[in-house]
Subunit: 586 residues, 2 copies
C-alpha cells in the first residue's frame, strides 16, 4: 500500500493524523527557509511543507531537488494551513513531511501539465499519456465513463440485454470503406471489421432477444475529415415488436435520463420535425434549435417586382438576425464576403435593416417599397433592431447556404450556449438519395430501412419521393443518433436490394444469411445507434470529440504516439499469403 | 405497439383483461373442437385457445394453419385455464383469441426450437439466430449481460474508470499471433488488432488515471484449440500505487461480489498457493480444489527397495482416490490403459488398495511390505476404502500425468460439482519459462512483469529460478484471471528486454513509446485481466464458452453463419496496395 489517503481527500477533520500520500510533483516553491510542494494525483492536489524549523536538513535538501512530475511517496502529519486556499478541496490543510521517497524520477515534460498547457496538438498527441494527466482531458475521460455507465444502467433497467457481436465479420458492399483483416488460417480470405453491428443486431431480433444494446467500436476506412476517427464508438440498440413511436419514446427516455443525471437538466417532450420541415425551416436536417432565426420563404412577396436576381430564383429565403440593424456598412460587407466564400458559395446577399422606428432600409430599396419589406419582416418574424439576410437561387443549395449563415450568426451572437440542451427528433427521412454524379439512388440510412407504409410502389415511379420509417435524434445542431424501422419481410428486402442496384447474386453473397434468417420468422423490429464520441462531447459542453477519446488518431488515421500503422516483416506477410503491391503515384 | 403484455407476464390477476400479445408459435395442438397454440417470446410462453364454441370458424381455421415459428399477433381476453400448468409462470391462464394476425410466416426450422434440440453443432452454428431462440442459449446470453453489468457496477463503485483503448494499434513482437489490418491511407503499412490492451493500460497509469478497467475484445491469430476463439473478451484492469496485496484484495472483492450477487454464494477469504506448492500438491498451476486427492510424494518411502522403476525415477508420487479399493481388476486395467494413452503419456501405474480391514493390496507386493505401503497411505492421506494410484518418472511430466488422472477420477466420481465454487490465488509464478526446443527463455506472463524484489541479479546466473510478482485467479480448475505487478523503471525494463532476447533496436521499435513514457514519471502499478467468456461459463455452471457467445466461430476460425472470412475483390486489394501470394502446399 503506497498511500493511506489520496491527494484529494484530506480535510481539517484529519488534522494531527499521520498519513502516507503518493503522487506527482506538480510544483515546488522554495522560499529559502520553507519549501512547499504541490503533490497531485487523480483525486486532487495536497500541499506538502518542509521547513527549516521542523524538518531535517536532509529532508529539506531532498525536497529542493524534486523536479516537476517526479513520482514520490511521503509520510507526514496533517496540519492546519496558516493561509488557507478556498480554491482547493484540500486547501485547509497541508502535510508536514517526515519521510520522503522518490518512487520514480521524471524528465522535464515536453509541455506543462496544467489546465492551460503550452503544448500544441501534435506534441500533446505524441505524449498523450502526459496530456491525460491534465485535468481537462482526465475529467473528460472520467465524464465519458460516467455517461456510459448511466447508459448501461438505464437500458438494463428497461430490460435491454447487452450482447457482444463479433468484430471479425465479412466485407459488405460498401466494401471500399471496410477495414479488412487477412486470415492466416484461410489463405487468400479476409475478415472485415464492422462499420456497425447492423446485421447482427437484426439477427438477434430474429433470435428473439427482443431488446438489445451494445456499446461497441465500429470502423470505417474513409478519408478522414476533421474530427472523424477511423474507429469510433456507438451505442447500438434494437427492439422487436415495435413501431417508430415505441423507439422514439424508448430513446427519448434514455436521452432525458442522461440530461437529468449527468447535467441535472429536466427536458420537456422532445419536439419532432419532419425532414421536409427541417429543411424548409432551418435548411438543415440537424437543426440547432437553441435559437430561432427560422427561415422565411419570400418568393410570394419578392418575385413581383423587377429584381431579376429574385425573379429567376427557385427560392428566395431569409432569416432575421437579432440586433443586426446596428451592423455597420463594413460589417455587412464582411458578411456578404463571408457568404460568397467558396465553402459557402452564395452569389450575394440582400439585407434589410429593421429600424427601431418601424421603417426598413435595404440593399434593394430601388426595387422594393416599405410595404414589400414589411411583408418580408413578417415572413421572417423580424422585429425592430433585426437585420434580415436574404439569399436566393436553386432551392437546395440556397437553403444550405442560409443554414451556414444562420449557424455563423448564432455563433457570433453567442447563441450556441454549450450548457443549454435542445434535443429534437427529425423524422420521415427520404428512403433514398441520389448520387449527383451517377444519378443512381443509394439508401440514405442503410438498405434495411423500411419505406413508409404504402409507398413501396413509388419506388418504381418516383424513388426520390419515398419516405422512410427513419429518424434522427438531433442535439444542439448535431446528429447524435439515427435509426429506422427495418424491413422484416424477405420479399420487400429483395425489392429494396433490386432498387439499390444489387444483382440477386450480389445480394445473396453479401446478405444471404440475413435474407435466409428472414425466412424463419422475423419479427417486426427497429432500432437506433448513437455516436457516443460526439454525444459525450456535447453532453460535456464541448465540440472536439478527440478530447473525449483516450488515444485518438490524427487526420491521417495515424496514432502518432505508438507510430501506427507501420510496416510488418516479410515473414508475417508470407504467412498471410500476401505481397505488397505499391503503385508509384505519377 | 405490437403488444400490451409479454408472453411471460400474465397471471390470474389479469383474468378478464383484454390483451394484445406477439411472438412465435412454439406449438399447435389441434384437438378438433379446440386448438391450443403456445405463443413464445423472450419472456415466456402463453397458451392461446381457439374453440368451436367461442371462436369464429374463420379464426379457428386460421389457427389450424399456423406453422411452427410463425410470428403472430393476437388480441383476446385472459381467461382462467381449466387444467393449470404449474410448470409455467403463465400456467394459470390462457388467452381466448378474438383477432389473429400473421406478422411473418416461417419455413420449418432445420432443428427443433426446444431446450433439448435435435440439431447438431454445425447446423446450430449455421442457423445461430434460431439457436438463440432456444432457452439454454438465450438464458446464457442474458446471464452474460447480467454478469458484465455487475462487474461494471462493482468496479465503478470502487472508483475504477472504464476507458476505451484503441483497436487499431501496432504489431508487437509476438507478431505471428497478431491479426493485422492493412491501411489504405498509408500504403504498405498495417495496424494490428490488440492481443490485449496491456501497453495502453500501463500508459493510462502513467497518465494518472489511477484505477482503470475495460470490458474489451482481444484478438489472437493462433491455431485454434478446442473452445478457443480468435476474438475473445477480457475484463481488463490496472491500478497505480499498488502492491500485489492490493490487487489481490481488490479483485478478490470483485469475484466475491459476483459469486454473491449472481449465484447467491458467500465465500471465505480465498486460499493462496505459491506456484511451486500448486505444482507439488496438484501437479497443476490451476488446481481444482473443490475436492482433495492431494499429491503425496513417495520418493523417501519407495526408493529403498529393489523396484528399479521407482529407484530410477526423479519423482514417485501418488494420490488416494476415495472409494477406489472396490475397483475390479478390469476397472484398474482400464485405468492403467487410460494413463498410458499418448495424450497422458505415463509408462504405467502402480496401485495400492487400502482395504477396509486396514491391510493393503498392491500391484508391487513383490517389492513392498505392509509397513512400506502404510507409509504411502500416510503420505497420500489415504483411508480404508481408497485406492492409491502412483506414477513415477521425470518430475514435471509425472506431475502433469498425475494431475490429469486426478481430474479424470474427480470427474468420474462426480466431484466436479458445477454449483460449487472453489476460488484460489496462485502466486509467485516463475518470471521466465524455457522454450524446450530452443533453450531460450520467454516471459511466462509478459515482458512487463516485475521480478520479485532482489531477484533481478538471478537473471544472469539462474534465470529459471526467478520468481515474479505474478498471480492467477483460479476457479474450479480454470484460470479465470491473471496479472502482475509491472516494471515501472525504465532501466529494469531494458534489462528484461535484453534477457528476453530483444535487441535494443527491436525493443525501441516495438515498445519505444512505453519506455519513453517511463521516463516521465511512471508510478508503481499492476493489474489483472479476466477471461470473461470462461468466467461467465463457469459462473453459469457450464464448461463450453461457445454457448455464452452470441456468434462464435468454429475451430477453423470461421463464422459459418455469415461465411467469413471470404475473398474480397481485386479493386479492394489494389486500393490496399496488396496482392495475393498463395503458396501451393507440397
Amino acid at each position: 500500500m503506497f498511500r493511506s489517503h489520496t491527494c484529494g481527500e484530506l480535510r481539517s477533520s484529519h488534522i494531527q493524523t499521520k498519513v502516507t500520500l503518493s503522487g506527482w510533483v506538480q510544483k515546488v516553491r522554495d522560499k529559502g527557509f520553507v519549501v512547499w510542494v504541490d503533490l497531485r494525483d487523480r483525486y486532487g492536489i495536497t500541499q506538502l511543507v518542509f521547513d527549516e524549523e521542523r524538518s531535517s536538513d536532509k529532508l529539506i535538501t531532498e525536497a529542493r531537488k524534486l523536479g516537476r512530475e517526479f513520482v514520490i511517496q511521503v509520510e507526514g502529519e496533517v496540519i492546519e494551513r496558516s493561509s488557507k486556499n478556498p480554491q482547493l478541496n484540500t486547501g485547509d490543510i497541508e502535510i508536514l513531511v517526515s519521510e520522503l521517497q522518490i518512487l520514480n524520477e521524471a524528465l522535464l515534460p515536453p509541455f506543462t501539465i496544467e489546465d492551460e498547457t503550452d503544448g500544441g496538438v501534435e506534441l500533446r498527441m505524441k505524449y498523450r499519456y502526459l496530456d491525460i494527466r491534465r485535468n481537462p482531458i482526465k475529467n473528460n475521460l472520467i465524464f465519458r465513463s460516467k455517461v456510459t455507465m448511466e447508459v448501461r444502467k438505464y437500458l438494463s433497467e428497461q430490460g435491454f440485454i447487452e450482447v457482444e457481436t463479433p468484430y471479425l465479420i465479412k466485407s459488405t458492399p460498401e466494401g471500399a470503406r471496410d477495414f479488412v483483416v487477412p486470415s492466416r488460417m484461410n489463405a487468400g480470405q479476409f475478415y472485415a471489421l464492422p462499420q456497425s453491428p447492423q446485421t447482427f443486431k437484426q439477427l438477434l431480433m430474429v433470435g428473439g432477444l427482443d431488446k438489445y444494446f451494445q456499446i461497441v467500436k465500429c470502423f470505417r476506412d474513409e478519408d478522414l475529415r476533421a474530427d472523424r476517427q477511423p474507429e469510433f464508438t456507438q451505442i447500438d440498440c434494437e427492439m422487436a415488436f415495435v413501431e417508430q413511436e415505441d423507439i422514439l419514446n424508448a430513446f427519448e427516455g434514455l436521452t432525458r435520463h442522461l440530461l437529468k443525471t449527468i447535467r441535472g437538466i429536466e427536458t420537456d417532450k422532445f419536439p419532432r420535425l419532419t425532414y421536409d420541415d427541417a429543411m424548409r425551416t432551418y435548411g438543415n436536417d440537424k437543426p440547432d434549435i437553441r435559437f430561432d432565426m427560422r427561415f422565411g420563404e419570400l418568393n410570394a412577396v419578392s418575385q413581383h417586382k423587377d429584381f431579376q436576381v429574385f425573379n429567376s430564383a427557385e427560392l428566395v429565403v431569409g432569416i432575421a438576425v437579432p440586433g443586426g440593424a446596428s451592423f455597420t456598412r463594413k460589417e455587412i460587407d464582411a458578411l456578404v464576403d463571408w457568404v460568397r466564400r467558396p465553402q459557402i458559395g452564395a452569389k450575394g446577399m440582400v439585407y434589410v435593416k429593421c429600424n427601431e422606428d418601424g421603417s426598413y432600409k435595404s440593399s434593394v430599396d430601388k426595387f422594393y417599397d416599405q410595404d414589400d419589406l414589411g411583408k418580408w419582416a413578417e415572413a421572417t418574424n423580424a422585429v425592430p433592431g433585426d437585420i434580415i439576410c436574404v439569399l436566393s437561387g436553386e432551392a437546395m443549395s440556397t437553403r444550405t447556404q442560409l443554414s451556414a449563415l444562420r449557424m455563423e450568426m448564432a455563433e457570433r451572437l453567442g447563441l450556441r450556449n454549450p450548457s443549454e440542451f435542445a434535443p429534437l427528433w427529425v423524422v420521415d427521412f427520404p428512403l433514398l438519395e441520389m448520387d449527383e454524379e451517377t444519378g443512381d439512388y443509394h439508401a440514405m440510412h442503410h438498405p434495411f430501412t423500411s419505406p413508409k407504409p404504402g409507398q413501396l410502389e413509388l419506388l418504381e415511379t418516383d424513388p426520390g419521393s419515398v419516405r422512410a420509417n427513419a429518424y434522427d435524434l438531433v442535439l444542439n445542431g448535431n446528429e447524435i443518433g439515427g435509426g429506422s424501422i427495418r424491413i422484416h419481410d424477405k420479399k420487400i428486402q429483395a425489392t429494396m436490394f433490386r432498387h439499390l442496384g444489387f444483382s440477386e447474386k450480389e445480394a445473396k453473397e453479401q446478405f444471404g444469411f440475413l435474407m435466409d434468417a428472414f425466412q424463419y420468422g422475423a419479427p417486426p423490429h427497429g432500432g437506433i445507434a448513437f455516436g457516443l464520441d460526439r454525444f459525450v462531447a456535447i453532453l460535456g459542453g464541448q465540440e472536439t470529440i478527440r478530447d473525449f477519446i483516450a488515444f485518438p488518431k490524427n487526420n491521417s488515421g495515424r496514432d502518432v504516439m505508438i507510430d501506427a500503422p507501420a510496416r510488418i516483416d516479410e515473414n508475417q506477410l508470407k504467412e498471410l499469403s500476401l505481397k505488397l503491391d505499391i503503385q508509384k503515384r505519377g
